[in-house]
């Protein structure tokens, strides 16, 4: 008997049961895959570093003298250190399929010996490289600049020795795999390495230390001239892109879980309400409450189990698809997590059964007639209709749409919540990407605002004419513009690595000095005032916190061989090396022999040119410096840190947009279908009294459109505080705690909401076409 009732029920209420099943599948898929992805992305970087054997400290030094000093120091203190010699080559030494290799950072040839472990795209460790084969990092492989593919020929020519390699694959390289690291390596066989080794001039050593006790303290006291240094967290922090991608995925996962919960609650509530009439009939003919509840719990358990199993199966490919962009550069662990998918799917089934159990509790309370009246006893304490057609000038169809929403806002709450979350899911990453692309970003990298930046390879020599080289170049640009009647400030940041001490604390930090037409007040500070004379410096809050110094304190800074004391006058923020920075007054005579490099030459025009003129001047700069690359301020930072807002985040943005649109389409179609099922009587009546199909379809479309507009409004209101709440912590890790989000109103408030509106309303139209099949004559058949 039970089975027969169930079978009949499943058949008769096919539409509603199907809607419930689809939503359960969706919920199970989203929850299972998102929970798995959450665990994966949160632990991924640590797992990857552990697998790769990333050291506690890593630094690079140039020259045998410095290496010898370190080796003696390591031996004396019994530190476990692995030293790997690298061959530095220039991007110009490399040809990809006979074309220029486009890369603007340091490049090395490396072999597997003494290296941290590297992995192929399938996460398998690379233990052997054959002669003539070459591997490059995934970050380089996937960048759009060179369009690499496996099998490409890579020709390397170094000091007269040349060899052509075949690109065997891309590596997941924990140490050299991020753009922020500022260097990359090509992995070749030992024989090939030895072939090029003979011609290298200055030895370059990459040293890994596996000791986390007192190494740093003693090492800082050694005051070694390092080219680069980072501790474990520092290496981890160079993975900004991966961290942002993971954080975005985390937000997406949380939103998908929330969406699923909202969908489930709505669907079960909606379908359970539909059951009340039958519950009443069963009660009226004397079936016991327990039996009635048992019947519905069995029904919902069966549907939930089928939905849960299908959802579980779908969660694997869906989860993989979502995480695909995260796993290009790092190893995302998934073994063992499948168990989590199963638990989540079971949780969805349990949730549904429990919900059904609690909903059917009302069965006990209701009399048969209450149940037949859909669980309502007729008492109402508030008016249903909010607006009055008789008091409005709006046409009936839009009026009905508005009035329906205002009169039954609870009914539309699910949609409002889902649409709002969806729009937030799009707006937050877009705000983040736009912030990362904005010109403002330049000021977070120890640079002053400017109009153009000319990036050009600049190699400093260990002699005292570095400053002259810089000034000559700045003068060349200045004169060029002056001759053309253009007034411009031309300046450049010169970078050093220095040791800074305050009381008993010492640390190493990047230090900067502006050269050319620049004054300290052109930079941004969080607190205090710009250095006014050569004995004053500004510190980043990261460095100030590290050594415990504050504004007004006297710090001691070692530049090359000399140590001098400076007064801290200001605190600022910087994302260089995750927050490092000491700003010197331009008049301070620093020892330029120890300059480690310079940022691009910056140009600020006095006449605030428009977009077209800017483009023209960009052309002029290119003409003057054919080897240089001319960027806007934002473009330069992107090139420096690896186009952070480039392909990966753009791909994620597209993926999120597609997922959100799919969710909107599904939710809209299923909601509209369930509304139509519930409103069949009203629709038939409206048709009978002369409403056209088109008017009724528009009625449904308008309701969805209004709900979406309302959701957009809510999402827009919450987008800025939520963007700050969710993304600011990531920027803080990177060294910038005071973030002003760059909002592009046209994109955020018009373009994407319009896309959502168009797609969602179109979906509602398709779903509402079912109205055409409802006959006006059905007014006589509706229960």
């Amino acid at each position: 008997m039970y089975l027969r009732i169930l079978r009949k029920d499943l058949k008769r209420k096919r539409t509603m049961n199907l809607i419930l099943l689809i939503f359960i599948i969706l919920a199970a898929t989203f929850i299972a895959s998102s929970a798995n992805n959450m665990v994966s992305v949160v632990t991924a970087l640590d797992n990857f570093f552990e697998k790769a054997g990333v050291p506690d400290y890593w630094f690079a030094i140039s020259g045998q003298k410095e290496n010898k000093r370190f080796q003696n120091f390591a031996e004396e203190n019994n530190y476990k250190a692995t030293t790997q010699e690298l061959i530095q080559i220039l991007p110009e030494d490399v040809k990809i399929n006979d074309k220029k290799f486009i890369y603007y950072n340091s490049l090395f040839l490396s072999q597997l010996k003494n290296s941290t472990k590297i992995f192929d795209k399938n996460d398998k460790e690379i233990t052997k490289i054959n002669d003539g084969e070459i591997y490059i990092t995934s970050e380089i492989f996937h960048s759009s600049k060179n369009k690499f593919k496996i099998g490409d020929t890579i020709h390397i020519n170094k000091n007269g020795k040349s060899k052509t390699f075949t690109l065997k694959g891309n590596t997941k390289d924990a140490m050299y795999g991020s753009a922020m690291m500022g260097m990359t390596r090509f992995m070749i066989s030992q024989n090939d390495y030895n072939y090029f080794y003979a011609v290298k001039k200055t030895p370059f050593y990459s040293i890994a230390i596996y000791d986390d006790s007192d190494f740093l303290e003693k090492f800082n006291k050694l005051k070694l001239n390092t080219v680069f240094h980072a501790d474990y967290n520092g290496i981890k922090n160079t993975r900004i892109v991966d961290m942002i991608v993971s954080a975005v995925m985390l937000i997406v996962s949380i939103c998908l879980i929330l969406i699923s919960m909202v969908i489930l609650r709505f669907t079960i509530h909606f379908t359970m309400n539909e059951e009340f009439r039958e519950i009443g009939v069963m009660k009226a003919i004397g079936i016991k409450n327990q039996k009635i509840r048992g019947l519905y719990i069995t029904k919902y358990f069966s549907i939930a189990t089928v939905g849960g199993v299908i959802g579980l199966i779908l969660s694997y490919p869906f989860g993989k698809m979502m995480i695909l962009n995260c796993s290009q550069n790092i190893i995302i662990p998934n073994e063992g997590n499948y168990f989590l998918n199963i638990i989540c799917a079971i949780a969805v089934v349990v949730f549904i059964v429990l919900f059904c159990y609690f909903c059917t509790r009302k069965v006990k309370k209701f009399s048969p007639i209450d149940a037949i009246r859909n669980g309502e006893n007729g008492e109402r304490y508030h008016r249903k209709g909010i607006l009055h057609l008789s008091k409005s000038r709006v046409a009936p169809v839009p009026f009905m749409a508005f009035n329906d929403i205002l009169s039954g806002i609870k009914r539309y709450m699910t949609m409002i919540l889902i649409f709002t979350l969806g729009i937030l899911l799009i707006i937050i990453p877009i705000n983040t990407i736009n912030t990362l692309r904005s010109d403002e970003l330049l000021t977070w990298f120890n640079m002053a605002k400017c109009d153009h930046v000319v990036g050009e390879e600049q190699i400093f020599n260990f002699n005292n004419n570095n400053k002259d080289i810089v000034n000559t170049r700045l003068q060349k640009i200045r004169t060029y513009f002056n001759e053309k009647g253009i007034e411009a400030d031309v300046f450049q940041e010169i970078m050093f690595t220095m040791h800074i001490s305050y009381q008993d604390k010492t640390t190493s930090s990047l230090a900067f000095q502006g050269t050319g037409d620049i004054t300290p007040d052109k930079y941004q500070y969080l607190d205090g005032s710009a250095p006014q004379n050569k004995d004053e410096v500004a510190l980043t809050y990261f460095i100030a916190d590290t050594i415990g110094a504050d504004i007004g304190d006297l710090v001691s800074i070692k530049n090359g061989e000399t140590t001098k004391e400076y007064i801290v006058t200001a605190i600022y923020q910087s994302m260089n090396n995750m927050g490092e920075g000491i700003r010197f007054h331009p008049d301070e005579p620093l020892d330029y022999r120890y300059a480690s490099g310079g940022f691009g030459v910056q140009v600020t025009y006095h006449d605030q040119p428009d977009y077209e003129e800017m483009d023209r001047r960009k052309g002029m700069l290119k003409e003057l410096l054919p080897n240089g690359r001319v960027y806007t301020a934002g473009g330069y930072v992107n090139s420096m840190i690896g186009n952070i807002a480039g392909s990966v985040l753009q791909d994620i943005k597209k993926l999120i947009l597609i997922v959100v649109l799919c969710i909107n389409i599904l939710v809209t179609v299923l909601m509209v279908k369930s509304f139509i099922t519930k409103e069949k009587g009203e629709i038939a009546m409206l048709k009978a009294i002369g409403f056209r199909n088109s008017s009724l379809v528009i009625w449904q479309m308008l309701r969805i459109g209004i709900v979406l507009l309302l959701s957009t409004l809510i999402a827009v209101l919450f987008s800025t505080p939520l963007s700050e709440l969710s993304v600011t912590p990531i920027f803080k890790i990177m060294g910038a705690k005071n973030i002003k989000f760059a909002v592009v109103p046209l994109e955020v408030y018009v373009l994407y909401p319009s896309i959502m509106l168009a797609v969602t309303v179109f979906a509602s139209m398709l779903a509402a076409l079912r109205i055409c099949k409802i006959s006006a004559a059905e007014t006589s058949n509706i229960e």
């Binding site: 007729g378 109402r380 008016r383 249903k384 209709g385 009055h388 057609l389 008789s390 000038r393 046409a395 009936p396 169809v397 009905m400 009035n403 329906d404 009169s407 039954g408 009587g681 009203e682 038939a684 009546m685 409206l686 048709k687 009978a688 009294i689 002369g690 409403f691 056209r692 199909n693 088109s694 008017s695 055409c772 006959s775 006006a776 004559a777 007014t779 006589s780 509706i782």
Partner: protein
């Protein structure tokens, strides 16, 4: 008198589980201006199907239905909707109204939707209120539909069917869900409307209701088996006699 509805050889067939079910078989009849015609018959005889078929709410299998001189079988869905909106009024057994609108709003809804009704919104409201006043339900104009009784609601449905001044009203068991007293009140309103010139075709099981009509069509298995004509009903006097004579005829027909 001018023919308002003319039905020729109307057939309606349903296919249920591959079995053909001929609900209406070659039905022929006409309704003239100002007539009030009741369709009677046992359950399943095709009364409601006939009403919905001739009013253009349901498709027909064969035959011809002319309404105000227009062959509605040739009209598109859009034209049929227009016809229902402007020329026809409908009253159902279940008092369907939009739950989120007040009673007055429900009544004026077809007027606001009509393109033919060119009166201003204010005039439409006025005419809705006039109708409500006439039917004695003006007090519930601003009430929600679940705040009023079944009888009041059915009278509101009559107001709605009248708002665009239709040529004819179709009513499917308009008193089916009402008690006797309310049913009498509703029928009194319908006869008043009819006496003012609007043709009415209604389906009913109730002899008391049918006795107030001018003509009764008796349907058996989708065929009009008989037709009974009465004088125009104007007052309570003579109602009993009309009922008795109708009852006798129905008994003859096998009621």
């Amino acid at each position: 008198m001018k023919k308002i509805l003319e039905v020729k050889d109307l057939c309606k067939t349903y296919v249920v589980n591959k079995r053909q079910n001929n609900v209406l078989r070659n039905v022929n009849f006409t309704i003239a201006d100002g007539e009030m015609v009741a369709v009677m018959g046992s359950s399943g005889s095709g009364k409601s199907t006939l009403l919905y078929s001739v009013s253009g709410m349901d498709n027909i299998t064969a035959g011809e239905v002319s309404f105000c001189g227009k062959n509605i079988t040739l009209l598109s869905q859009k034209e049929l909707a227009g016809l229902r909106l402007d020329e026809m009024g409908f009253i159902f057994q279940q008092m369907y109204m939009l739950k989120n609108l007040t009673v007055l709003d429900n009544i004026i809804l077809p007027a606001c939707q009509s393109k033919k009704n060119t009166a201003s919104r204010k005039e439409k409201i006025q005419s809705g209120q006039d109708l409500m006043r006439k039917l004695g339900i003006i007090d519930i104009a601003d009430n929600d539909i679940n705040e009023v009784s079944g009888g009041q609601l059915q009278r509101a449905c009559i107001c709605r069917s009248m708002i665009n001044r239709p040529s004819m009203i179709f009513a499917d068991e308009p008193t089916g869900a009402l008690n006797r007293a309310t049913s009498d009140e509703v029928m009194d309103e319908l006869t008043k409307i009819n006496n003012e010139g609007t043709a009415i075709m209604l389906v009913t099981h109730d002899v008391k209701v049918a006795a107030k009509c001018t003509r009764i069509l008796y349907l058996v298995d989708g065929n009009i088996e008989g037709e009974y004509t009465l004088d125009k009903y104007t007052s309570e006097t003579g109602l009993r006699e009309r009922e008795r004579s109708l009852n006798n005829w129905l008994m003859e027909m096998g009621w």
